[in-house]
Every structure is written in C-alpha cells, then in structure tokens.
Symmetry: D2
Subunit: 280 residues, 4 copies
Amino acid sequence: VVELKENSYGKSSVRLTKVVRNGVHHELIELSVDIRLSGDFTASYTAGDNSRIIATDSMKNKVYVLAKERSFTSIEEFAVLLARHFIQSYSQVQRAVISISQTLWQRLASPDGPHPHAFTDAGAERRICRAELVGDKLELSGGVDDLRFIKTTGSEFRGFVTDRYRTLNDTSDRIFATSVEAVWTYASESADFNGTFVAARTSLLQTMANHHSLSVQHTLLVMGEAVLKDCPALRSIRLTMPNSHRIPIDLQPFGLENDNEIFVPIDEPHGVISGFIERE
Amino acid sequence: VVELKENSYGKSSVRLTKVVRNGVHHELIELSVDIRLSGDFTASYTAGDNSRIIATDSMKNKVYVLAKERSFTSIEEFAVLLARHFIQSYSQVQRAVISISQTLWQRLASPDGPHPHAFTDAGAERRICRAELVGDKLELSGGVDDLRFIKTTGSEFRGFVTDRYRTLNDTSDRIFATSVEAVWTYASESADFNGTFVAARTSLLQTMANHHSLSVQHTLLVMGEAVLKDCPALRSIRLTMPNSHRIPIDLQPFGLENDNEIFVPIDEPHGVISGFIERE
Amino acid sequence: VVELKENSYGKSSVRLTKVVRNGVHHELIELSVDIRLSGDFTASYTAGDNSRIIATDSMKNKVYVLAKERSFTSIEEFAVLLARHFIQSYSQVQRAVISISQTLWQRLASPDGPHPHAFTDAGAERRICRAELVGDKLELSGGVDDLRFIKTTGSEFRGFVTDRYRTLNDTSDRIFATSVEAVWTYASESADFNGTFVAARTSLLQTMANHHSLSVQHTLLVMGEAVLKDCPALRSIRLTMPNSHRIPIDLQPFGLENDNEIFVPIDEPHGVISGFIERE
Amino acid sequence: VVELKENSYGKSSVRLTKVVRNGVHHELIELSVDIRLSGDFTASYTAGDNSRIIATDSMKNKVYVLAKERSFTSIEEFAVLLARHFIQSYSQVQRAVISISQTLWQRLASPDGPHPHAFTDAGAERRICRAELVGDKLELSGGVDDLRFIKTTGSEFRGFVTDRYRTLNDTSDRIFATSVEAVWTYASESADFNGTFVAARTSLLQTMANHHSLSVQHTLLVMGEAVLKDCPALRSIRLTMPNSHRIPIDLQPFGLENDNEIFVPIDEPHGVISGFIERE
C-alpha cells in the first residue's frame, strides 16, 4: 500500500511593482512573492476533486489585490498579512508559507538632491523574508541574499589538515570574496523590520571589512555575533557564505613573480561555509 | 550570550568528466559533486584554529582521486563511496552529505550502429542522488531533475474554489506542461540503481502521458504510485512539478476564435505542486 | 551638429505555442520571434511624433494573429510571411528583420508507437532562422544553435606556435567537445527548409563524430564542406564552435597517472573557432 | 567548389582580477577579456597544419602576463595594448579584436571614510570597450552595458498607429524602465577614457531622469545628443534600450481601480529601441 503523506502547492514568482505617490515624491517597491499552502487538499490528489483547491491563479490575484488595498512599509508586514489572509479565508488551509524577495532600487542622486521619481540598480542583493503560519503560530524571518563583497587583504588561511589530498599552500594574505546569504529570525512580530535590515546589513559589511580573517568560518561567526549584538529584535541568524575564489595565477613559466597582484576569479568549484548562531 | 549552534561547510560544483575505455567503446560520465561536512569544527569558527579543517580544495582533490582509483557504475555508488571516505578518514567529521548531479549524454546513432565514442545532448534533465552518512547510518536517495514534458490534451482543471479572487475559467482541455523533479529513497544500499532509474523515469513519463488529468495534483499522485509499483527497491518518492503554463491567447479583439491552437508560454508566475508518497 | 543616422526598433522574445490537431495526432510548435523594423520613424525620435510608430505591442499581436490565420510548416516560412506582412502593411517600414528560434520537442515513444500528443525535451539545441526584407529583396538564412556534441577520442592538437606565452603541451588524443552554431543561407526562397534542416544537422553530427581532428579549425571546414555537399539548396554556411574544454587533471601529486580518464569541464575561458564557407 | 571565405578564432571570457597596492590603499580591477584574431590561418583549416596557430591557451597567458607587466588605468588602454601586442608579435595576424567587460566594484563607505581595501557590488552594469586593429588602423569604442534605470512618471506613449493589430491604449503616464547599452566611438586614441566614462554615464542617467518622454525613441535621441555634447572626445554613440515593461494590472474584476499603483514587471516579450547618433 502506498500513501500520500505530505502535500503542498502554490504559486511562485508573483512579481509586483508598487508605486506609492506622496505628491511628487514617489516610493518604488518591487517584489517577487512565493506562496505555498498545505492542508486538506487530499481529495484533489486522490480523486481529482478540486472543490477545496484555491487556483494558483487566484493566489496571484490575491497578491495583487492586497498590494493595492493594504499599505505596508516592509516585506515582512506584507508576508504576514498574506499568510493571515490565506489562513483566515480558507478553512482547508492548515499552513501558509509566504516568501518574498525584494529588488532594491537606489534613488538617483541629482544636482538638486535625491530625485523624486528616478532610480538605478542597487546591485544583485535582494532583501528577503519568510512568514510561515500554522493556525495562529507564526514563524517570521528576514534577511539578505547575494550581498556581494570583496576585500583584497586582511585574510589568511593556514594550518589546515595536511594529508594525501592536500595540494593548497598556507597563505597569510589572500583575497576574501563572497556573496552573503543571511537569514535572521525575529523574536516578535512587532519588530522594527526596516531599521533591523539596515542595522544588520551594515553590521555584516563593516565586520567583514574590518575583521582580520583566519578563515571564512572565523569571520562568519564574528559577523553573526555582531548582527545579534546590533539588532536586539533578532533571536538568531543563519549565514551561508560561498568562497568566491580568486586564485593567484602562476606566472613563473613566464619568468615573472606574482606578488599577489593577478588572480583568476572562478565560479566553480567553490567553497561554501555556513553557521547558525542563536541568542541563548 | 550568543552561540554557534550548527556548522557545516564544503565544496560545491566539483565538476568531473570520466572516460571509461573498453577497447574502442568508450563510456562517458559527467558529474557535478557537492560535499558538506559537519562535525567538530567549532575551533575554526571561534578561534581561527584550522587544525581540524579539511580544506575544500582538498575535498575537490579527493573527488578526483576517488574517481580515478575506484570504479563505479552509478552516481549512487560514487556518492556512498565518497561519504564513507570522509567519515572514515577524518574523526572530526560527524556527518557527510554528498549530492551528485549527472549530465546525461546520449550516444550518437550512426549508420553503422551506436557510435563508439561520440555523444549528443540528452536534454536539460539531470540524474541526481544524495547520500547522507552520520556515523554508519546512511540515507540514500536518487532521482531526476528538470525532466521536461508537455502534452497537448488530456488535461482538465475545473470545479475549484470560486470567490472574489478567482478570474480563471473552468477548462476541460488544456495543455499540461511541466518539468518534473523526483526524489526517491532506496530501501537498501544494494538496490539496482541504474535499473531503478530507467524504470522510474519510464514510469513517470508514460503515466503523465496517458493519465487523464483533472489537476496536476491528481496526476502527480498517480505518477508517484506508478513509480513505487514499478520499482520495488524504493521506499518513497517526492514529486515537485511546476505548472509550466501555456496560456490561450484571447484572439477576440482580432475577430478570431482561438480553438485551443495558439498559446503563450510564460515562465512566471508559475504554479508548483508537490507531494510525498510513501510505501506503508 | 549631431544627427540620428540609423534607427530600428521592435519586439523581442514573442513566445508562442501552436498546436495543430490532425484528429487525435497533434503537432506541437514552440517559437520565440524577434522583430526589428527600420524606416521612416525619425519624427518619433526628433519630435515625439508617434503617428508612424507601430507599437511593439501591436507587433506581438500580429505574430499571434498570423500564427492563427496562416498555416506554415517551417519557421523559415513563418519568418518570410511576417516580414512581408510588415513591409506590405506599413509604407514607412523600409526594412523588416524577423528572427525565429524554435524549441525542438521530441515525440514520446510509447509501447504502442509514437505518442499522439505527448512530448519530451529534445535538448538545448534550437532551430533558428532569419528573414531580412528590404523592399522586395529577401535574405533568408536557417540554422541550428547550441547543438552540443562531445567525442572522447579522435582529436589532436599539435605543432602550434611555441613562444614565451605557450604552456600547453602537444596532444595526440584529447576530448573534442563543442556546441555548434551553424547559420546557412538559402539560394532560393522555395527551398525544402525542413529537409535541409535534417540533412544539414545529420551532416554536422556525423562529420564531427568521424573526422579525425587535427584542430577545431580543421574539423570545422570539413563540416561546412559536408553540409554544402549534402544540401544543394544552400549557398553558404557560417560555423561558430566554442571549444568546450575538458582539461585532464594532474594526478601526479597523488601518485597517480591520468591515462586520459579524468577531466575537469570548464566553461570559461573557452576557445571559439569560426569560419564562413561559400559555394563558388 | 566550396571555399573558406573568412576565418577567425580566439579566446572568450578570460577573467582577471588585478589588485594595485598603493601602500594600504588598494585598487581593484575585474575584467573579462575576449580575443579574436583573423589572418593567415587557412592551412590550419584546410590541412590541419597548426604551425601558424597561436593556441587560445597562449592568448589567455598573454592577457595574464600583460596585466602583470604593464600598468594601465582604463580598459581602453589595456585593449589597445593587447591588440597591438598580437599584431606586432605575429605576422600572420591581420586583424585583432579585443573586447573587455569590466565589473564595477564600489568602495565600501566606512565610519572612517572610504575603506582602503573593501568593496561591494555596484550593480549589473558593466563598463565595456572594444579595440579593433587592422594593420595600424585602430577603431576604438567604449561604453556601458546593462545600466538599469526606472522612473515612475514623466513618460507618455500616445498617438501611435491604430489598426487591426492595436490593442494598447494611449497613456499619458507610464513607468519608464530600461537597461541601457551605450557604445561610443572615440575620435582619438588619446582621449580621457575614464573622464569620458563618468561624464557619459552621468549624462545618460540625468537625461533619462529629467526628460519628459513621449516615447523611448524620443528620449533615446535626447540622451545621445546629451552625451555627445558633454563628451567632446566622442564621435558617435549607439544606444540600445529595451523597454522593461511594467504592465498596469487590471483590478476591475476585483471592484478596484488601479490609479497607476500596481504593475507586473515582465521580461518577455519586450520592446527594444535603438539609434545611432553621430557628430557631423
């Protein structure tokens, strides 16, 4: 006998641009929303009975309608609002998970000051959040993804395991390059989400820049500690940091010495370091 | 007080081409391997003490060396072999997770029969597996990712929830298009991995093609049941199927009727349906 | 003084799925169409006078409408038909360029023979064409893009320039891997486009597989010659072939010899070889 | 008879990181270089005679060596230097084309001022250039690619062709979003490349932000004129601007009016507008 043990379904990549007009001064919000619902949907799987199925097309419409009807100042607020709406509107929904990724536009500087309605690219970085609601129990996280960073010194990697498989030399000065994914959990639903985002992001970048790194692991923990210290609203943080290798090129075949000047950036293979740091 | 509760690190996207020469008849294997280790690495995070750290560069080397020294006939075998090697070589490693994705090349047909050493693209599809070893406890899964499929009829979607957010009409004839991700767990480490892959893949495709679908959910369950029926070596299967929408174009503004002929394929937003089916 | 010397505009990536129903046997056509128009559009640039501008949204609609109203059996036919329509409908259009890329679906084999309406992925390969119409002068090309191929022997690379910058050794046995882009021009608008595509593709693959290659350049020319020999409807062919390197891994640090067994595939940097071959 | 009419080959995506250390203050340069050579290489195609072939691997090495041996302050300088080196070193090279794309890192702001060696993502934007050298005749261009911009008002699109294929309404207030590709040609090899880049980029962004747009065509020309006015070193500019559509969502089915607030960003299909503007 074979049985359906878990089910979930939803809509991915519901993209949305919202313009908030405060007179001539405009705010621009660009989001991509993912929705996953679980609950009493078994009849749809077993019998093709769709009477409890909310079409994923209707989920998409709900995102648009709520974006219009509700005002919100952070993606965390919008995610919670959407999760609540699904749980409260449909008794068959037992669990709603809303994940949002925000493209960050940067207001154009103009000779007369910040431009009222023009914006440029703020990088690959995305602000992210996730609200999971089961009944009235909410788990809420925020974070940043693909926050790219590079420093050209202040990083060592020495004294690691020597055995048959080691060919890498010790180095006391290497390039440290990464693309941080940070996911933090809020202690409460009423946290200052935007203030926390700014503080955590600053904390990540300044710590990475200034910590004398003995390994990515070493710096990652200091970064996590700094965020939890600077952001009292947070309970924990998970950091995942690829090692975006810049490999020194061997110039000896050409009669040259490479004094840590010329490197080749490679995308693969790449190291990945992660850690989960929690307030006790 | 703040504490490091979990750590893991490893190497991603270690790509590898292996050619096995049986006289003039060559086999071609192309893999991408991901490695994650957890264990007694805390000193590296807290004190920059790397004495227990196996460099991710050394992990990469180990993949190359084992690919040379060992013969294996499936990615599952190679994943288990790698996981064992990490656990057995380094006492500080408590958990090793090896994930492998295989690019499937198709032997070129030539006038004289299958070509001995030439191959062409077999599609976006990847054969995948994952071996997680904690001490001597192994969890082993296989599967397929991005198995693209489309059928032009034999699919309905009717009778779903009607409320303020619904704008989609009932349809009794739509295009069914998806890209299947299937992850199955083996009941035993000594399963016939290659035979199971072929049988499961065939089962997925033939079931999708021939099942009269009342929803993606409906077809997904039948597919999972078919795989477990056809593959006795499997204990469970998790299926994740995006709905790769083909939207009928409204031709009425041009005085034309669209008899289910002309569609626009859209990548986003898209539905995603998943289910986990287990043998009792 | 500054002047607008050239203008063109259009719509890119107009995607389209067309299902042709011959009773229960369905044909599936998936295309992406790019349109570029040039002509008497200067007033739009200089004065914001849009009275001669065909909105790119209208171009998209025209693609949908013609896909519905007209039957065609090849992308070349559809491209010519679209180009003609733009030139004939709008006197301000002096030049129309239509480029089409077709996703190739492969009919599913089922126990009862080819399935009437189910299809699977036929690889990254795209069938392509381009029709450029200036007045009544047509230039028409067809081709294939991203046709991936690998052979594990039958390829050498020796005797190239030796100087300060050379570090690569001569090799008499290497992996030959590429992804062919072929663009051919038709001698006439009434060529057998589908027959030519099949013949040219076969010719490319069989020649690559069986030619003993002394360099990619060497094989490229033989491929081009073979296509022109096998396809009398063609006037010329341009081939562009990246060298999708598989680099032998140095296993000497591990006390092993690599007998051309273990390679690392790299995406970048990569060689690119091209040639244009014409019938005299 | 069939003949090889054109040949060219080279190396693509030679990536490079160069760190210039002025004491503790570091400069970071990240490039990707493409090389294409044409010339007397026919014997390699026709006879597999590689004696005149410079291996693409050697080209890659030359990039590394020259990056080390030479100092340069702009990608234009480095491109010219490389093109000259190929033409001067190898008599069989008749034409050398060097294309460079530069990733722009942004120096981290820290409480103590600009950080001496830490950098963050400066967006998808790339600084680009191309040097084509035939004998001693140089054509040199610079530019920017994927410069993303959005403004939420100040853009109209009205009065375009009305016919059977038009369904788009006139609008006097729409979102203007694009990703500019600008390629400019220098009047002389001794231009101030870095000063020109900054001036041209500023000119593009400020003009886009402040021009009241009646169409993308309309704004594109004003942008090109502004760049040529602000940058006397330039002879011409080619602008290519996709229309990165933000489509207003129809909220009437939900009893709501959309006052230009809620949009869906779509990637495809998309308009593309281009123009070539030259100083007389």
